[in-house]
Amino acid sequence: MADEIEKKVYRGRIKVPYKHTAGAYVEKFITEIGKNNKIYGVKCPKCNKVNVPPKMICIECFEKMEEWVEIGNQGIVKGFTVITHSTPVMPLEPPFAYGIIRLDGADTDFVHIIKESDPEKLKIGMKVKAVFKENPRKRILDIEYFEPI
């Protein structure tokens, strides 16, 4: 049967090594995480919201944000899920959890991994703490995951 299928198809791929310019905001955020285990946000001059992770534009005011604010490494879980399906792009073997996290001092939420695979042990409102990667590789996973405290 398999070679019956192979006759009807062409096995192709799109394989491209992308190199994305990070820009000032992504660079500072990820460098601070990697070098000093610090998490930064950026504040909108008009609505004073602290955006984490930081970016150039406050989407509600369409204003450029320039004021950097240091944020705590801990935060509250606003939402979570535990996934059991695995795909080639997942950073670790399922089951593990994703969380929407409001870090102390931030006004926007922040999606990351929570090191917990039992949904019963996860509750909206619980506190979690960032765990920083030993050898950072210039990417969001330099925060390796968040763990319940």
Partner: protein
């Protein structure tokens, strides 16, 4: 009568470069969007809808309009739609923006084309545009087919490499007067072009367009809104598209049949009898030097095979009867997703008389062209006053 007249009322472009190492994708696009908003003196919330596009596999971001429309343009809680058609992405965006306003659904629309080519690579991305079984294995991006076209075109009409090199000389010296252009060569010579490395016979390095990073943003408005925004807009007179076979090689590729099909339809609508006489400037999409010679024939600026003569007679020079590519054209600047939109922007700049050193005197009617896909062409004609 629901149909509305549509005008370009705001223009923004980034300074196009080979690599923008200082900004990421949304930050780069924001530069052009902010410039267009300031140009039209509009508040972000006065934009009713955003039409934005690029070529997906160049940067590898799926549904890129959902990132860029919100983080680089005032799209939060607004309509954001992506149109993407390869090399003609910029002109397809321009035409989509036109219909969004002409239909009466929206009053003000922001149209954005962008590309950050060197995050993935142009040739790599373009190869993925072709048939995986029959074309991709041997295809070398756009330059392969364009080289075949240049070779066949020059063989059929006896066009010399020098004549083609004159196009690069014309356009890259024009680009010296365009602050946004990527390659600006005020004292470029034919010899400089002819001595560059042969990369795909008969195309030498400087017969080919560069890979650029940058964005272009235009703001459109209907008649009522235009009155409030500017007394110096550029009005759309015609927008036409002509596509071709799925396999570009289904037809002998020494010329561009769709340029003739699309331009004829556009001329009819815009009341253009003789393009050389009735048009005052043309911004065309020439990926190689040979292309401009062939496309000017397809566009009816001259008879088949006489593109070289047209250039030699100086008609398409800045001082000629119909200057072609005062902006420097695609041979000077090629951020693929924005390239065809820059043609519309530059045509509008000429109509508005804001071309500064690259301004052609008293422009009433301008043509902009998009090229891409399997030999597709899109034509936009703009005028100083609404078409009557």
């Amino acid at each position: 009568m629901t149909k509305h007249d549509v005008a370009v009322v705001g223009i923004g472009q980034t300074k196009f470069r080979s690599k923008r190492r200082d900004v990421n994708i949304p930050e780069m696009i924001y530069e052009a969007v902010k410039m267009a908003l300031d140009d039209a003196q509009l508040e972000p919330k006065e934009i009713d809808a955003i039409i934005i596009g690029n070529m997906d596999h160049f940067e590898g971001i799926n549904f890129s309009e959902l990132l860029c429309g919100i983080e680089a343009a005032p799209g939060y809680l607004k309509p954001v739609v992506k149109v993407a058609t390869g090399g003609t992405t910029g002109s397809s965006l321009a035409i989509c923006g036109y219909h969004n306003v002409a239909s009466g659904i929206y009053d003000n629309v922001l149209v954005v084309g962008w590309e950050k080519l060197n995050e993935g690579g142009a040739t790599t991305g373009i190869i993925t545009a072709f048939d995986p079984v029959w074309e991709r294995p041997s295809l070398a991006g756009a330059l392969g087919p364009l080289a075949l076209m240049a070779g066949m075109y020059s063989a059929k009409y006896g066009i010399t490499a020098e004549q083609a090199a004159k196009v690069t000389v014309k356009n890259r010296s024009n680009a010296a007067n365009n602050p946004f252009a990527h390659l600006q060569m005020p004292n470029i010579t034919i010899d400089y072009v002819m001595s560059s490395q042969m990369i795909a016979y008969p195309l030498r390095l400087h017969d080919c367009c560069p890979q650029s990073e940058g964005a272009c943003a235009l703001i459109y408005a209907n008649e009522q809104e235009t009155k409030k925004i500017t007394d110096n807009p550029a009005w759309f007179h015609a927008v036409e598209t002509a596509h071709y076979y799925t396999f570009g090689t289904d037809d002998k590729m020494f010329d561009l049949p769709t340029a003739t099909i699309a331009s004829k339809k556009a001329y009819k609508k815009a009341g253009i009898k003789n393009p050389i006489k009735d048009l005052d400037v043309a911004e065309i999409y020439e990926p190689t030097s040979w292309s401009e010679l062939s496309w000017t024939e397809g566009l009816g600026f001259c008879k088949p095979g006489e593109g070289g003569k047209l250039l030699d007679e100086g008609i398409t020079q800045m001082s000629g009867e119909l200057p072609v590519n005062p902006s420097g054209g695609v041979l000077s600047t090629n951020p693929i997703g924005a390239t065809a939109l820059v043609r519309v922007a530059e045509a509008a700049i000429q109509i508005m008389g804001r071309g500064e050193k690259r301004q052609v005197p008293d422009v009433e009617k301008a043509l902009a062209m998009g090229f891409g896909g399997s030999l597709w062409t899109e034509i936009m004609i703009l005028g100083k006053n609404p078409l009557r």
